[in-house]
């Protein structure tokens, strides 16, 4: 076999692999829309998105308003981000800019270990340890709240955010730090005024991608968010995020029924949110590349 033929075969192989992922993506989208769009025959898009009542199995007057579910998802993810951003980005800064190599060698494996904890285990810990603690600490009737879910989600995705943020910091060349020190800046000034701004696109990408993962996470919110389909008004109320709704209810629906299509329509909403975040990440990257600010 000539080298040119080998090259061709490898090229085709790679193209095929790439095509597989494109086809899977399109396949998922087609199934999702095929099963989800029929929902809009019995509930208008606007009523679906803004309706406050989610009673899909009510015998006489089923309601298909997912505002409580959307808000549940957003509250839980926002809470988790509020915890993850300072701690995750802070940890990344510490590891990349401050820690001595010996300390780094201890911390990095611990964070990676955290990364290997399955979400169901996180959910279990939340259920057994955090929920009772939250209940007692804040004097609540139940410990299964948005706050509980947010903390466990934050723990689950902390390693993810830390490692992408750390990559973004490591990608800043040493010569930039040297330039800062050479004009007399100290470590704090170098980190906050030179390294972080330079790493901003990468770090914000880490945060957005982390947020996307949190919105899609299912197991923890199913186990510890409380499950009440109401529009939340505080972090210490239970919620029923979109993913938890699909997971909890899909098994009990009649295939092809209204409830079934409505759950797929929730899937479409999740899909669109993820797509928007993806586009956002790309826009940030483009903007910074165009302005040549990194």
């Amino acid at each position: 076999m000539t080298r040119a033929t080998k090259d061709k075969i490898i090229e085709w192989g790679i193209t095929l692999i790439a095509l597989t992922s494109v086809i899977s993506f399109l396949g998922i989208a087609v199934v999702l829309f095929a099963q989800g769009l029929p929902a809009f025959n019995f509930v208008g898009l606007w009523d679906f998105l803004t309706g406050r009542g989610w009673h899909p199995t009510h015998v006489y007057e089923p309601e298909f308003g997912i505002l409580p579910l959307i808000m549940g998802t957003l509250w839980v993810a926002a809470g988790a981000l509020i915890i993850t951003v300072p701690f995750g980005v802070g940890a990344a800064i510490y590891i990349s800019e401050v820690a001595r190599p010996a300390v780094k060698d201890v911390i990095k494996p611990i964070i990676e270990l955290l990364n290997s904890v399955p979400s169901v285990v996180m959910g279990f810990i939340g259920l057994l340890i955090l929920a009772p603690a939250v209940m007692n600490l804040f004097n609540l009737p139940v410990g299964l709240t948005i706050f509980t879910a947010s903390v466990m989600l934050a723990l689950l995705y902390m390693p993810y955010v830390v490692s992408i943020a750390e990559d973004a910091l490591n990608a800043i060349p040493m010569s930039l730090r040297e330039a800062s020190y050479a004009v007399g800046a100290n470590k704090m000034e170098t980190i906050t005024k030179v390294v972080l701004p330079a790493a901003f696109p990468g770090v914000s990408t880490a945060v957005i991608l982390g947020g996307g993962q949190m919105i899609g996470e299912t197991m923890i919110v199913l186990m510890v968010a409380g499950g009440a389909a109401m529009v939340p008004t505080s972090f210490f109320e239970p919620a029923r995020p979109m993913t938890a709704t699909i997971a909890a209810e899909m098994g009990e629906t009649v295939v092809g029924g209204d409830h079934y299509h409505a759950l797929f329509a929730i899937g479409i909403v999740l899909f669109v949110i993820t797509l928007i975040l993806f586009i956002l990440v790309n826009l940030i990257e483009k903007k910074f590349r165009r302005e040549k600010l990194w």
Binding site: R100, P101, P173, A182, G184, V194, P197, K292, W294
Partner: protein
């Protein structure tokens, strides 16, 4: 061989430097005459960069580096490499220009403002004035005065390097260190920077590492020739290039090695 009649800005005595266990500088004695240009030449890996970076304690940024001996800065007789001396204080007085232009990913204006802000300058009028002044001294004002808010990365390589010089000048340094500042530039950009360095002699003492012997001959008053971590010969530039005392120096400048 060392000019006694002229005023010294700094002098290294018995200076040695170690990367971990590896000794990169051996017992260097190098005087720097005030408001003149001293050039360091020598084959790749002989320790020119290492010596230059001792002057602003750049080696402190990395672990396991060790200085021995002295670099005295005048008139206050401080030993730069003394452990008790804060490297920040040194870097407040001695500026540096690197081999590859390394502007911050900020606007042209902010690139220069940074060093001033670090020194506590807040007033916009003072910042504006200093920025114009240092860009002018770096022969960059005409080209940039209408685009100060643009990213520094929009400038050409030569302009970026002059911006880095302006950045170093803005804080009023007593000394400037240059590490092969033109090695990444084309001949036209190179000659602009050389002119600039010659012009700066009026106000600042300069130490420049160069790989290019013609450059050393063109712009420096004093030249040190280094090999394998040692300063082999140091003298007036004219003397080094016309009538060196050491055989090794002669072979190097006549191009027999390196």
């Amino acid at each position: 061989m060392v000019a006694n009649s002229e005023k010294l800005k700094a002098e290294t005595k018995g200076l040695s430097f170690y990367y971990g266990n590896v000794q990169a500088l051996k017992d260097i004695r190098l005087p720097l005459t005030e408001k003149e240009v001293t050039a360091l030449i020598g084959p790749s890996g002989c320790g020119k960069t290492t010596l230059l970076r001792c002057f602003n304690r750049m080696h402190d940024l990395y672990p396991h580096n060790k200085y021995e001996g002295e670099i005295t800065i005048f008139p206050d007789n401080i030993n730069i490499v003394d452990r008790g001396i804060d490297p920040l204080d040194i870097r407040m007085r001695i500026g540096m220009v690197f081999q590859k232009p390394n502007p911050f990913p900020k606007s042209i204006y902010e690139n220069i403002a940074f060093g001033l802000r670090v020194r506590g300058v807040r007033k916009k009028t003072i910042l504006d004035e200093q920025i114009e002044k240092s860009l002018t001294r770096a022969a960059l004002w005409e080209e940039t005065k209408d685009r100060l808010q643009e990213s520094a990365f929009n400038l050409s390589g030569g302009q970026q390097q002059r911006l880095c010089i302006a950045r170093a000048l803005a804080t009023g340094p007593e000394m400037l260190l240059f590490d092969e500042p033109t090695s990444a530039l084309d001949p036209i950009a190179t000659s602009k920077i050389e002119d600039l360095i010659v012009g700066l002699k009026e106000e600042v003492t300069m130490l420049i590492v160069t790989h290019n012997m013609q450059q050393a001959a063109r712009i420096s008053d004093w030249t040190g020739f280094m090999m394998l971590g040692e300063l082999i010969e140091f003298d007036k530039t004219d003397k080094i290039f016309t009538n060196p005392a050491k055989k090794l120096t002669e072979s190097y400048i006549t191009g027999r090695f390196g």
